[in-house]
């Protein structure tokens, strides 16, 4: 007899099994959808938090004050040297006159007091943005070594706070995603195990007829893939709706525009791919885990 890989048979058996055990299939898909949405929600929360922190980080600038002994032209000539300092992403020269004007604009309720301030009251300075907020202290030290720089003001504590919040958020999200993945696998494995339990007699007969473990497993793998993909597609669209709803509330209740939510459509391809990947992974690993016990004949 011919011994070929019978794809058509595996697919038809897998599909047939899904409909034969309709309720169990429905339960498995529901579990996959629930797990993916929970995992997806945490991931999207982490992504948005990361994005918001990134925005806030990019606004966190250092001020490099230039020595009073330097003329404004000499101060401007420091720009290439400062730009070469590691981790510096952006430099903006601010003259002492402009700095004073900005200061007065910010404190215009005390304009009478400020009016008498001479232009020399403030120094020329550079506004400096960095690539990596975690290396802010090192960058501050390096900038202070540049001849002509009087001192550098950097909100190191705030930067460290951002880094800590980001690390905690990423860590918590990773741990939660890991735990949810394990729980999902466990639930799916048990759901499919129930379906497999009803078919233990068929499996025993197949084993007695000389079926290989692979031959018995493949329809279950196909079933797991189909359940996983179905769950992933449903979860993808449900997550989309949920995200839009949350985004709408966030925008309405966010007068300061502190939270800048990433659009779902910009992440849709990635989310769909990850959901399908995780859904298929959960379905297949769950199926194989469930059937393993019944292959011991």
């Amino acid at each position: 007899m011919s011994r070929k890989f019978n794809t058509g048979y595996y697919v038809s058996e897998g599909v047939h099994s899904i409909f034969t055990h309709g309720f169990m299939s429905f339960a498995a898909v529901c579990m996959i959808v629930a797990c993916l949405i929970i995992m997806g929600s945490f991931t999207l929360l982490a992504a948005n938090l990361d994005n918001t922190l990134g925005d806030l980080e990019s606004e966190n600038e250092m001020l490099v004050y230039i020595d009073d002994a330097l003329t404004q032209d000499q101060a401007r000539m420091l720009q290439p040297t400062l730009a070469q300092v590691d981790n510096v992403s952006q430099l903006t020269f601010v003259t002492k006159e402009n700095a004073l004007a900005d200061y007065k604009a910010k404190h215009n309720d005390n304009i009478a007091v400020l009016e008498d301030l001479p232009n020399e009251a403030l120094r020329d300075r550079y506004r400096v943005h960095v690539y990596d907020i975690e290396r802010m202290a090192d960058t501050q030290a390096a900038l202070e070594q540049v001849p002509g720089v009087a001192w550098v003001r950097a909100a190191i504590e705030i930067a460290d706070g951002f880094v800590m919040v980001r690390n905690i958020a990423t860590g918590v999200a990773m741990v939660l995603i890991g735990i949810l993945l394990i729980i999902s696998l466990f639930i799916i494995a048990n759901t499919i195990k129930l379906a497999t339990f009803y078919r233990r007699e068929e499996i025993a007969i197949m084993k007695m007829c000389g079926a290989t473990d692979g031959f018995i497993e493949w329809p279950f793998v196909v079933e797991g893939i189909l359940l996983g993909l179905t769950g992933a597609l449903i979860a993808f669209f449900a997550q989309w709706g949920l995200y839009q709803m949350v985004a709408k509330f966030a925008i309405q209740g966010n007068g300061l525009s502190l939270v800048n939510m990433i659009s779902y459509s910009s992440m849709a391809t990635t989310i769909l791919a990850v959901f399908c990947g995780v859904g298929v992974f959960i379905g297949v690993v769950g199926s194989l885990f469930a059937i393993r016990k019944f292959l011991q004949v």
Binding site: M1, S2, M206, M208, C209, G210, F215
Partner: protein, 229 residues
């Protein structure tokens, strides 16, 4: 061919099911394996089908040494056997034809092979008009015929029937035994595990008697001797 050489089997709970059994069944033979409940018959069948491994001794089945058979070789070995159970073990939601097709597909047979082989086997067991019936629509005797057909459909060199008439009335039991005899005449080795004294004595075949894990008699043209057991 089956060959047991001084086979012992002790289960994890300490039960010694077989205590040094040696027996040989050649190709083409028809053998009854008899003995009381708990004598070791089921253990012997499980050893033949490689469901369990011997604790000591050697077991050879159709050219496979089961003492060092690899997991990949077990399906190959089982394809040389056809197993029939007392409770038929048919798939209720599949038709007679599909029950046989299921067994053939399990070893990778093509649809063409199914269409050629299944009608022949159904005719052999006298069910050629009932391929589209479901097990629940058949009598006990007919269901056992389907089980025999399923055991035969992959053309094994040996049929192992574990109490095949245990759920049947005497007339149906006789018919099943005659069918097995006919299959044997066509060249397939047949090993029947049974309690049915009248059937054993009627067929005048080789009778292997096992009791308390030991082989106590092996007689060609023998009888199921109640006193002996």
């Amino acid at each position: 061919m089956i060959r047991f050489i001084d086979v012992q089997k002790e289960y994890d709970n300490g039960t010694k099911a077989l205590k040094g059994v040696s027996v040989r069944i050649d190709d083409g033979e028809f053998v009854f394996l008899v003995g009381p409940s708990g004598s070791g018959k089921s253990t012997l069948i499980k050893l033949i089908t490689a469901e369990i491994a011997p604790t000591e001794g050697r077991v050879m089945v159709n050219g496979f040494n089961l003492n060092n058979i690899t997991p990949r070789q077990v399906p190959q070995m089982r394809r040389t056997l056809g197993v029939i159970f007392q409770d038929f073990r048919l798939i209720e939601k599949k038709s007679v034809y599909d029950n046989l097709a299921f067994a053939m597909r399990a070893i990778g047979a093509s649809n063409r092979e199914l269409r050629r082989r299944i009608p022949y086997v159904l005719q052999l067991v006298g069910l050629d008009q009932k391929g589209d019936r479901f097990p629940g629509q058949l009598s006990g005797g007919e269901q056992q015929r389907v089980a025999i057909a399923r055991a035969l459909v992959n053309n094994p060199s040996m049929i192992i029937a574990d109490e095949p008439t245990g759920n049947l009335d005497p007339q149906r039991s006789l018919e099943i035994m005659m069918l097995l005899e006919r299959i044997n005449e066509l060249g397939t080795t047949v090993l029947v595990v049974t309690h049915e004294k009248n059937l054993v004595n009627r067929f005048n075949k080789r009778v292997v008697t096992i009791e308390n894990g030991r082989l106590i008699s092996d007689e060609t043209g023998g009888y199921y001797n109640v006193e002996k057991v």
